[in-house]
């Protein structure tokens, strides 16, 4: 077991070390997310009741765009410097290493979004229960967004125009998470049962965690050939 997890843990730690050396790179999506969430109330007046209706969509779309920004260069540097070849030739299974990399990126760029969500929810006028549902939804949904984005980054790593290809490829795959995440908050705000959309988010998460690292590893193998 240790022989499998040791290499994945090494890659996870390396991603954190790289982020510590280049703070601007991982801070950019967070700043972007903050700007989106902060400017919305200014755009439609802070007291406007419509803000409460839009709040879940604002936070979720902000998280989606931040995830897109974060994943674009996920494998580019490794392809350019040859590390990707070493990852694919290592003894540890490539999907496990890919999952470790996705996990590190989630920790760095998505977990802060989840932690900031209660504050943003309250700022956008949400009541305490919808704020809790929003935060729980993001906790379940952001790994799905990150793993989906990471898969698309693996598919487009060797492509010339990955910057435009990636969002086109990934948006339809990320949409269900945004729909169910936003839907749960709306249901909680209206006093309706909100468990079902959260279960759907959990199911999407299970699919993403188990399937996408395998698919991404296959895509990376194609990229180095």
């Amino acid at each position: 077991m240790h022989a499998l997890l040791g290499p994945a843990w090494a890659l996870f730690r390396r991603e954190l070390l790289l982020a510590a050396r280049r703070p601007a790179e991982w801070a950019q999506p967070l700043v972007f997310y903050g700007i989106v969430a902060l400017l919305f109330p200014l755009g439609i007046e802070a007291q406007n009741p419509a803000l409460k209706v839009f709040a879940p969509a604002i936070v979720w779309v902000g998280a989606l765009l931040a995830a897109l920004l974060a994943v674009e260069r996920m494998f580019r540097g490794d392809l350019e410097d040859g590390t990707l070849e070493q990852l694919l030739l290592a003894q540890a299974p490539a999907p496990l290493l890919v999952a470790a990399k996705f996990g590190a990126h989630w920790l760095l760029t998505a977990l802060p979004l989840v932690l900031a969500a209660p504050l943003l929810g309250l700022m956008l006028g949400l009541d305490p229960l919808p704020v809790r549902v929003l935060t729980l939804g993001l906790l379940l949904g952001t790994p799905t967004l990150m793993f989906t984005g990471g898969f698309a980054a693996a598919l487009t790593v060797g492509a010339q125009r990955a910057g435009i290809l990636l969002p086109i490829l990934v948006l339809p795959l990320m949409t269900p998470a945004v729909i169910f995440g936003g839907g749960a908050v709306h249901a909680a705000s209206s006093g309706l049962p909100y468990a079902a959309p959260l279960y759907f988010l959990a199911a999407l998460l299970a699919l993403a965690l188990t399937g996408l690292p395998l698919a991404a590893a296959g895509a990376l193998r194609n990229a180095v050939e």
Binding site: P7, R14, R21, E80, G82, L87
Partner: protein, 202 residues
């Protein structure tokens, strides 16, 4: 000394393709423990593609390979050095050892062996081309494996580093290791002794 001796590598009627272009076909050879094979050929002759097929990075278009080494038995040194420019030389090597489930006990000795002890705490992005190549070669000393696949290992190396590589290769062969290396030109005298040559494109 390699942890386990290299087995015999047998290549039968191998064909190698790059995209939809077949770069090599009907290639057969055998490589035994203790042998060093130099694959020589001009630009585009298929040296790198062949090496990638031999170590398992690329699937062959036809033919078969017997005795292909596993991940734990082979070193791969591509024409890219696999060194992150932001991390120091030592951090890069320690990470690589951990990635392959090996301890980092030999890293400092390996860096000293390739003449990079003084640079070990410098970011790889601040090193010269030759120094980065030396850092990549240090992996050969840090973890002992019976099979070495080296793509253009001489690129960027000065005379002293070529001698270090020659010493490493010959010491590796003496203890039963095997190596395949590519280059587009004849090997320097220090390296060429006892090396078998396979010329592509003839």
């Amino acid at each position: 000394m390699p942890d386990s001796p290299a087995s015999v590598l047998r290549v039968h009627a191998l064909a190698v393709a790059r995209g939809d272009r077949r770069v090599l076909s009907d290639l057969s050879f055998t490589l035994a423990p203790g042998e060093i094979l130099h694959i020589r050929g001009g630009n585009g002759a298929g040296k790198t593609s062949l090496l990638e097929v031999l170590c398992g990075l690329r699937a062959p278009a036809a033919g078969r390979i017997e005795g292909q080494p596993t991940a734990a038995q082979r070193h791969w040194l591509g024409h890219k050095n696999a060194l992150n420019p932001v991390l120091t030389v030592r951090e890069n090597l320690v990470f690589w050892c951990a990635l392959n489930g090996n301890g980092a006990a030999e890293v400092d000795a390996a860096l000293a062996r390739v003449g990079l002890k003084a640079q070990r705490h410098r970011p790889c992005g601040a090193l010269s081309v030759g120094q980065r190549r030396r850092a990549a070669l240090a992996r050969l000393c840090a973890v002992s494996r019976p099979w070495w696949f080296l793509d253009e290992p001489l690129a960027g190396l000065d005379r002293a580093a070529v001698h270090v590589l020659a010493d490493l290769l010959h010491a590796h062969a003496r203890v039963g290791g095997a190596a395949v290396l590519t280059s587009h030109q004849a090997l320097p005298d220090a390296l060429a002794c006892g090396v078998r040559e396979l010329e592509l494109g003839r």
